[in-house]
Amino acid sequence: MDFGFADQIGFRALTLLTFLPALGALIMLLFMRGRPSAYKATALVTSLAAFALSAYMLTAFHTDTAAFQFQENFVWIQSFGINYHVGVDGISMLLIMLTTFLSVIAIIGSWNYVKDRELAFFISLLVLETGMIGVFTAMDLFLFYVFWEIQLIPMYFIIGIWGGPRRIYAAIKFFLYTFTGSVLMLVAILAVVFWFGRESGTMTFDILTLQNAGFPSNIQFWGFLAFFVAFAIKVPMFPVHTWLPDAHVEAPTAGSVILAGVLLKMGVYGMIRFCIGFFPEMTVKAVPWVMVLSVIAIVYGAAVSLVQVDMKKLVAYSSVSHMGFITAGLFTFNLQGIEGSVLQMVNHGILTGALFQMVGFFYERTHTREIKDYGGMARPLPVAAAFFSLFVLGSLGLPGLNGFVGEFLILIGIFQYMKVFAVIASLGIILGAAYLLWMYQRTMFGELTNKKWLDLKDLSLREIVTLVPLAAMAVVIGVYPQPFLQMLHAPAADIIARLEPFMAQKESLVHMASTFLGGF
């Protein structure tokens, strides 16, 4: 249907983009063992090339359509209608940009971080990048599932080998949580494909075809449930978020940056593509439930952040809260909510990635992450403190920085949906300001309690190089979000159009839910 956009750049850009990092990893493995400068340079060049390629694709990208672009489609397993089919719309293009961007940052950031089995570390990062890009480009359910699972493996190793003291527990917990959700999704995939095959006579895993299948209500219910749980674990939504703090605290800095920056977004992306795409009727019915869970996550995540004594854990729990905003915004299903939600995914990737990066830099200097061990750090580390303040302020939603734009749009969206949720969500913003500023105050300001921090070195040039692009993006999106939102108009309108026919039912359910909550 959308094959008009198959060849807009003259070569198979998406396949190249997806497998470029893996190719770099292979070259490093085969030819560069034992030569750190060579393989590090290759890793950097590969990730930069992937970023450049994704940026180049942007120049040929049409923002005025929700159709999938840069499509490529080859038969893979004929008897089952499985194809290697890839393509992007505005949402996935933006998330791919985020992926390639953060991968470069993560690689520069961990230049000297890893001492042990360094080659394997950079190979894992690049393979992970391939997996992530693959998830965002796949337009075939089978292909999607393959990438979805494949990216677990490098992350499992990154946490398990290069993580902190409880890394083994965290790595296994991370893997088992996601894997359990995914295998249930696998059965749901098989069920929807089977149903469609029986109805239409052709077996296909093609996402575009299945999106227009019109599944009956029992398939809608079970299918939605299975897909939703798999993605909710990834986001992670309350109450399946418990793997996240462990994984974040134990993961090495680059792992946390990628985990918070991109992997969590795969969950929301999956909800957009599959829950909404395949099961619009059930999605609309589920809105009140998702809203309640999201709002719980917002407040609960913020409240738990408030009492954390470990900086990294604080940032990790703040992710639970922020991801709550993102799911809440998405499930309002109005233009502001959806666009704000997707934009906030990018913002959260940048800001939280930056915060984890900075916590990592502090940790490399002090070997502690306990807030009480810090205090007055602005004196020995003025540059770091300046960057840190920017990201903290962005994260709590200061106007002029990117976090504000996303949160604002989301709040407008939620307000249109139901006022009571908007009020509770605002509470989360207030709490967010509280725990972030309080942390900043306790770590950066005040007396320099620990005198041995006095001769710490401020950020090196390499470290500043990783932070400047993040800071620049935070300001650019904060001041001029238009080009980013431009990419989301068409896909968001498409989502609303897809759900419109079922919205009538929503009104009554909203009514029911609001009665349940005492009205407002």
Partner: protein
């Protein structure tokens, strides 16, 4: 018998001749058994290649006792490959154990002949002869390290439970003969169908099911499996976990689809119940194991559980062999990944014969000591878990797909949840290899080399090839059922 009757059994003839040749040549060899190994290896490969050459042909031979069709060919090739991979991983192991003897290869060849016959038989007598040939050879192989108490125990346990199981099977077979007056699959099936599904037929079905359930280690008839796998020489355990098991399934598929076609609603339910129980037992006990060899034994039970779910689906999908085809694909995938995993165990045992006890602690820090062994083991563990890109995922994908298509989505849910449980114990091996440091000072040991390296490389290649491009195996599995009743 006409000379033309010999065509369908050319692969088996090759194997029998090779076995005899091994026994004749053996006494003339001194310590160096290369010649024997070469004969066995050549014979296995030749039987597989000839088997491939026979594909597409259909023939009934030996008074309708043996058939040649793509179903039989699929298993001839699979067993030939499994035999070859087992031969490749054996010499170093047996030398280290001080029992490198020609008889070993002869027994292996005879066992595979029995397996081939099981898959190709169209008659309950021929099936039983094949079963016993395989079983007797297997008992001897299990006890091949006869100076080790563990190996003796394994042989004894395998022999007693195996004989018992054979007897039960035979009792079921005799009931069928009593009801129908024939042992031919189709004729017996037609006669039973004419008589309708009676209690007698149900009893016969149940007896054959229990007997064969013992052979392929269906819970609750699995008790012998962990002890036998732990005690038997590692290459033999590798062979047991894929060869006789696949042969058992080849015969189960045939017998239940033809002879017991009339009672398919009954056995379908039985298989579903046993599937859930077997998945539970295999996975739950595998979780508790600290010994990797024993864990793999329980894991093989768990995989039997998944296969039984396929059998349950097969009984419910009338005239549609999707589940049967998926079982064949699964068996092929399982052969490569499990032989690979056991191959790594064999390698580690030969590397450190005294200190290596197969316990998880022995795997600590393996990634530093021998990175290649660790990487390959990780690949096989990921495949057993069912991670995409590997044969294990493709096997599960097709198998669970067939289960869903038989309107048994709940069973597929149960199966994938057990797969998620299995991830824990498979990943634990990876965790020890990559995340832990070796407990004591370790000697680096020899790296993987020689025939064992070839065996592991082929297994890994099989795992990845089926994992990434499954179409060729799938079409072979489909063809097997294309002329199933030819």
């Amino acid at each position: 018998m006409t000379p033309k009757d010999l065509i369908p059994i050319i692969p088996e003839l090759i194997l029998v001749l090779a076995a005899c040749l091994v026994l004749v040549v053996e006494p003339f060899l001194s310590k160096d058994k290369t010649a024997v190994v070469a004969i066995a290896l050549t014979a296995f490969l030749a039987s597989a290649v000839v088997g491939l050459g026979l594909s597409g042909r259909e023939q009934v031979a030996f008074s309708q006792m043996i058939v040649l069709n793509d179903y039989a060919v699929f298993f001839k090739v699979l067993f030939g490959v499994a035999g070859a991979l087992t031969v490749l991983m054996s010499p170093r192991y047996l030398e280290t154990a001080g029992r490198h003897m020609g008889e070993y290869y002869a027994l292996l060849l005879f066992a595979v002949v029995g397996m081939d016959i099981m898959a190709a038989s169209r008659d309950l007598i021929a099936f039983y002869v094949g079963l016993e040939l395989m079983a007797v050879s297997s008992y001897l192989l299990a006890g091949f390290l006869r100076y080790q108490a563990r190996s003796n125990e394994a042989a004894m346990k395998y022999f007693i439970t195996g004989t018992f199981a054979s007897a039960i099977t035979l009792y079921g077979v005799s009931l069928v003969y009593g009801f129908t007056g024939t042992t031919n699959y189709e004729q017996a099936g037609a006669a039973l169908a004419a008589g309708g599904s009676t209690t007698g037929v149900a009893l016969a079905t149940a007896l054959v099911l229990v007997g064969m359930g013992f052979k392929v280690s269906v819970a609750p008839f699995h008790m012998w499996t962990p002890d036998v796998y732990t005690g038997a020489p590692t290459p033999v355990a590798a062979f047991f976990s894929v060869g006789p098991k696949a042969a058992g399934f080849s015969a189960i598929l045939m017998v239940f689809l033809t002879v017991f076609a009339v009672s398919s609603p009954t056995w379908s339910v039985l298989f579903i119940v046993l599937a859930v129980f077997t998945m539970f037992v295999g996975n739950a006990f595998a979780l508790a194991q600290k010994n990797v060899k024993r864990m793999l034994a329980y894991s093989s039970i768990a995989h039997v559980g998944y296969l039984l779910a396929g059998l349950g689906a097969l009984g419910r999908s009338d005239g549609d062999y999707l589940a049967g085809q998926s079982i064949l694909l699964y068996l092929a995938a399982y052969t490569f990944m499990n032989l690979g995993a056991f191959g790594i165990l064999a390698h580690l045992k030969t590397q450190r014969p005294a200190s290596f006890t197969y316990s998880l602690d022995d795997f600590a820090g393996l990634a530093r000591r021998s990175p290649w062994a660790a990487i390959l083991m990780a690949l096989f563990m990921f495949s057993l878990t069912g991670i995409p890109g590997t044969a294990g995922f493709i096997g599960k994908f097709y198998l669970f797909n067939s289960v869903v298509q038989a309107d048994l989505a709940w069973l597929a849910v149960v199966a994938v949840l057990f797969s998620a449980v299995s991830a824990y114990y498979y990943l634990r091996v990876i965790m020890y290899m990559f995340f832990r440091e070796p407990e004591a000072e370790f000697e680096t040991g020899e790296s993987i080399s020689g025939p064992l390296a070839a065996s592991l490389a082929l297994s890994a290649a099989g795992v990845l090839l089926i994992g990434l491009l499954p179409s060729w195996v799938w079409s072979a599995a489909q063809n097997s059922f294309g002329n199933f009743f030819g």
